[in-house]
């Protein structure tokens, strides 16, 4: 026999289950929606995506004229790294420890020696392929 108390308990359970189901599915839907981002972060991401598209494309075909050649030269000039990026090349480098010792004695200057033992390679710290 189903008593009134039993029916009430079943009714309450149904209500709790449907409520938790609704809450669960709403949280899933909300999690899938894009979250508002920091506008700067969003802009940087867009710029980066644009750059990736550009870098994947071949360079435009340059006309076979002196102007076309000079345009390539201008592109190269514009692509030259900034002095700030090249600052380590304003220091006085020598190719070997022996050459550095000779120069240090001659100019009475100390030596800063960087020793790199990477397992992959060969590498070159000075050129940057390291």
């Amino acid at each position: 026999m189903k008593t009134r108390g039993w029916r009430n308990r079943v009714g309450k359970c149904r209500f709790v289950l449907s409520l938790s189901g609704m809450l669960f599915w709403s949280s899933v839907v909300l999690a899938q929606q894009p979250r508002p981002r920091d506008p700067l972060e969003s802009l940087l991401k867009q710029v980066r995506q644009q750059q990736e598209v550009e870098f994947a494309k071949p360079l435009a075909s340059f006309p076979a004229t002196p102007q076309g050649a000079q345009t390539i030269e201008r592109y190269a000039k514009a692509g030259y790294p900034a002095s700030k990026e090249l600052a380590i090349y304003s220091l006085d480098w020598e190719p070997t420890l022996a050459a550095a010792r000779t120069r240090a004695r001659r100019e009475q200057r100390p030596i800063f020696f960087i020793m790199v033992t990477n397992f992959s390679g060969p590498t070159n710290f000075y050129s940057g392929h390291c």
Partner: protein, 296 residues
């Protein structure tokens, strides 16, 4: 270290009195005698990481040795250039505390980019001494490429022949300029040799008119690379180079060009791909008189 702490403005200033030198090898077994002696003398712990730093006095004697980071890797300093720079500057100052550098001559601020030591027996006639390649890279979320890679390649006769002035447009195999193009790869991949295995592609060399002083030619096309990592990564890029020739000679006088492409770096644990932007400037190095020749 090269793109982070070493290029920090305070570290560059601190290093101006020093003569800089580096040595690279895949293990301590590769040491030349003088480097090995210094290594043994310093007796640094073996687990401090692959980069070791040494300060020597003007007589060439070891003053101090240390590691560039507070632990084995830059992670201990949060990969933060400011913290890494401050740490390195302090270590250099500690290491050179015993020397009076107040009157020591400093390196000028003028850039001295890598150049070529030219062989006295070079048979290359009118061609420039070689090529300098300045490769700038940008990783989407790593700061390891702040300083460009700069490679130089001495000219040879085979390239001089390939690049003679074209009376009509002709195909030039990328293979014939392999020694230049194989410099176009990202550093720090830490897998296998981490260098280029193969270069393919057909480039078009076309005569491009003349003006009062020069004749011009343009070399342009797509280059396909195979990289020596665990996956033999393939990538491609676009190159365009403008050559200048004297009006009465077929050997070029100078050139300047650009390269642009992407390197698809796979995550070692299969968690996706990061596209590294690669942009390079290729420029000819002039033949210098003996007195001005600069060694690398």
């Amino acid at each position: 270290m090269r793109g982070s702490s070493l290029s920090h403005p305070d570290v560059v200033s601190t290093l101006r009195p020093f003569i800089m030198v580096s040595w690279n090898g895949t293990s301590t077994r590769d040491f030349p005698e003088d480097v090995g002696t210094l290594y043994r003398q310093a007796n640094l712990p073996r687990d401090g990481g692959p980069i070791r730093l040494f300060v020597l006095n003007p007589a060439g004697k070891l003053e101090a040795s240390f590691f560039p980071f507070a632990g084995q890797s830059p992670a201990t300093l949060g990969f933060d250039q400011q913290r890494m720079g401050t740490f390195l500057k302090q270590e250099i100052q500690k290491a050179s505390a015993g020397m009076d550098l107040s009157t020591t001559r400093m390196a000028s601020r003028q850039l001295k980019l890598p150049s070529l030591a030219i062989s006295e027996t070079s048979t290359v006639s009118r061609m420039p001494a070689g090529v300098r390649i300045l490769l700038s890279l940008e990783h989407p979320f790593s700061n390891s490429y702040r300083v460009p890679v700069i490679e130089t390649v001495a000219a040879n006769l085979a390239e001089e022949k390939v690049l003679l002035y074209p009376q009509v447009s002709r195909q030039v195999s990328a293979q014939s300029l392999k020694r230049w193009l194989e410099q176009l790869y990202p550093p720090g991949m830490m897998e296998r040799s981490g260098r280029i295995l193969d270069v393919q592609g057909e480039l078009l060399l076309k005569p491009s008119g003349e003006d009062d002083q020069n004749r011009y030619a343009i070399l342009q096309g797509t280059v396909y690379f195979t990289f020596d990592d665990a996956r033999k990564t393939r990538y491609e890029g676009s190159v365009a180079i403008a050559f200048r020739y004297a009006k009465n000679a077929d050997q070029m006088k100078s050139f300047r060009g650009v390269y642009r492409g992407l390197f698809p770096k796979q995550d070692k644990y299969g968690k996706g791909e990061a596209k590294i932007l690669m942009q390079a400037v290729l420029e000819s190095l002039p033949q210098l008189p003996d007195s001005q020749r600069v060694g690398e």
